[in-house]
């Protein structure tokens, strides 16, 4: 059975004009990502991975080419239309969590649904609680963001990315701020979500992470250098178990 295409890039180019010069951040990138894939996008800084992430997240539009997200062409969309699209189809996980300060876990997770008029306050809360339980924070619903550890905050952020049941989860260096132990905890969580059938795109410069994903796209100078399936996906849970215990806290 043919798998559903969630993301399709057709010769996407993105140019920035810096002063007199034109910088070609993306020089014709094409790929398809199918439902249920766990893709890492790797590249050194300046390789265009941030620009690509912005394209995938509908925060930006291509200069030329087309990006089709879950069947919707994005390039010609207005800012408001893209905001709505992000709200319904994308879950973001950022490197530095980006939780609202002095706000409880549940309220943080509810945030995307606040911009979706189809949810009333009871449905919002139900969905937020469910998402928090899915990331293992069912017992910390009312904790405020400043009372949590980095790992807990990132779990809240992941719950926030899950709450709108997105077509794709976009993680931007989601383990970059965490120590090794907590990073593996996050990877365990991402693998669990992958196992549940979620589509995940994980942007990172850390090659280690690629071993835990199902597919790896390497960028260099705005072009795809490598696009490989990973035949031997390592288990993050096993790696976590093998870590020395005193690494954390």
């Amino acid at each position: 059975m043919e798998k559903k295409v969630v993301i399709e890039l057709q010769d996407v180019r993105r140019d920035f004009i810096v002063g007199e010069e034109t910088v070609h951040a993306l020089r014709g990138v094409s790929f398809k990502i199918y439902e249920g894939e766990f893709v890492t996008i790797m590249g050194t800084s300046g390789s265009g991975k941030s620009t690509l992430l912005n394209q995938l997240g509908c925060l930006d539009t291509p200069t030329s080419g087309e990006y089709i997200l879950d069947g919707t062409p994005v390039r010609k969309m207005s800012k408001s239309q893209r905001a709505k699209l992000r709200n319904r189809k994308i879950g973001f996980v950022f490197q530095n969590y980006n939780l609202l300060p002095k706000t409880t876990a549940v309220e943080n997770v509810e945030l995307p649904l606040m911009y979706n008029t189809r949810y009333n306050s009871r449905q919002r809360r139900e969905a937020a609680v469910k998402a928090l339980q899915a990331v293992g924070l069912g017992d910390r619903l009312e904790h405020k963001s400043n009372q949590m550890s980095g790992g807990q905050m990132q779990r809240v952020a992941i719950a926030r990315a899950l709450v709108n049941d997105p077509a794709v989860i976009l993680a931007d260096e989601a383990t970059g701020n965490l120590d090794t132990h907590t990073s593996f905890e996050m990877l365990v969580l991402f693998q669990k979500l992958h196992a549940e059938g979620r589509t995940i795109i994980f942007v990172t410069h850390n090659p280690e992470i690629a071993q835990y994903s199902s597919r790896n796209i390497m960028l260099r100078d705005g072009k795809i250098r490598e696009d490989t399936q990973n035949p031997h996906i390592l288990s993050a849970a096993e790696a976590l178990a093998n870590l020395p215990k005193n690494n954390d806290e």
Binding site: N54, G57, L59, D60, K79, S80, A83, K84, R86, N87, R88, F92, F94, N98, L100, K102, T103, L111, P112, M114, Y115, N116, T117, R160, N164
Partner: protein, 405 residues
Amino acid sequence: MSFLNLMKVAIRAIAANKFRSFLSMLGIIIGVAAVIIMMAIGQGSKESVRQNIQQMGTNVLTIRPGADRRGGVRRDPSEMQTLKPIDYETILKEKKFVTYVSPEVTASGQAIYGANNTTTSLYGEGIDYFDIKQWPVIKGEEFTEEDIRKSAKVCVVGKTIIDELFPDGAEPVGKMIRFKSIPFRIVGVLKPKGYNSWGMDQDNVIIAPYTTVMKRLLAQTYYSNIVCSAITEEMSNDAIDELTQILRTTHKLKDDQEDDFTIRSQQEMMETMTSTMDTITIILVVAAAFSLLVAGIGIMNIMLVSVTERTKEIGLRMSVGARGIDISNQFLIESIMISITGGIIGVIVGWTGTYVCELFALPTSIPLWSIIVSFAVCTVIGVGFGYFPAQKAANMDPIEAIRYE
């Protein structure tokens, strides 16, 4: 985002920076309180002037000799002698819109009784005068038609005269007082009126028959004024037309000649007075309103700081699906809430301030519309001065905003 949620977010943002929010509210509080107090004082003074004039009767018309000339034009003395007995008699005969008529002559000088004396004004009046001014005699009697015919040396006096000339509390009615060496017998005492709004003691007055004053005191054949009353306040203008017609006829004025007399209604006087008060009120309120403008700029300033400070939050909200309008609404509602809360506190402070002014014997009256206007102005300030910061927030690029440090 729904309005209720926007409100919640705004309340949270304000509560997160209580002191800062309070400081930016302070401008609004002071501005609104100032506007309300100024309006209350203005309105209060206006009402007290109006009441004073109303006491004198709003349907009173005063005919003065001479054309209506204002400014520093010096008048020919002959011009001041145009009101003659023939005018009075004709008015009496032909009046339709006028109820009461009284000629008036005035003199000032000293009134003496025994060892006491006081400087006062002597008004020579007809018997209608008491009806025109609605000024009853509370002790003794008014002088009569007979007294006028005979130029009798009788008078009624105001309370101040009694206080000055009879300090021991003796019974004044029946006593003889002298004014410029002419003896007058007191036949009545007028009801006290007190001071009028421009500080004149209305009770420092002696009223005698106009004939007596003209013949025995001033030796003149013309009147200083003629005082009339229209049937009602509304008929004042008809009465003025009628009197103008009568006087132009008796004065034998040709069509192209100006009136050689001036008719003033009390209503007109009230309008002049209240319009003066209005001008003062407007100046005060405008001054206070400027402080509201400054307060608005203060709010804009704080909102701009708040927007910059929360760039990251804005970036996050945008990346999870907030549209520009959601962000701009969020900040607009915040600035409206600051200004309206400030407005409410300002109204309370204004009320208290007005009450304090009243304790210091300033006449005040809070017009309800001043409160409504204050609220409207606060909302306008909230929207007006919140708009630019809100737009700034809404137009942020989510990519840059989310990475802002």
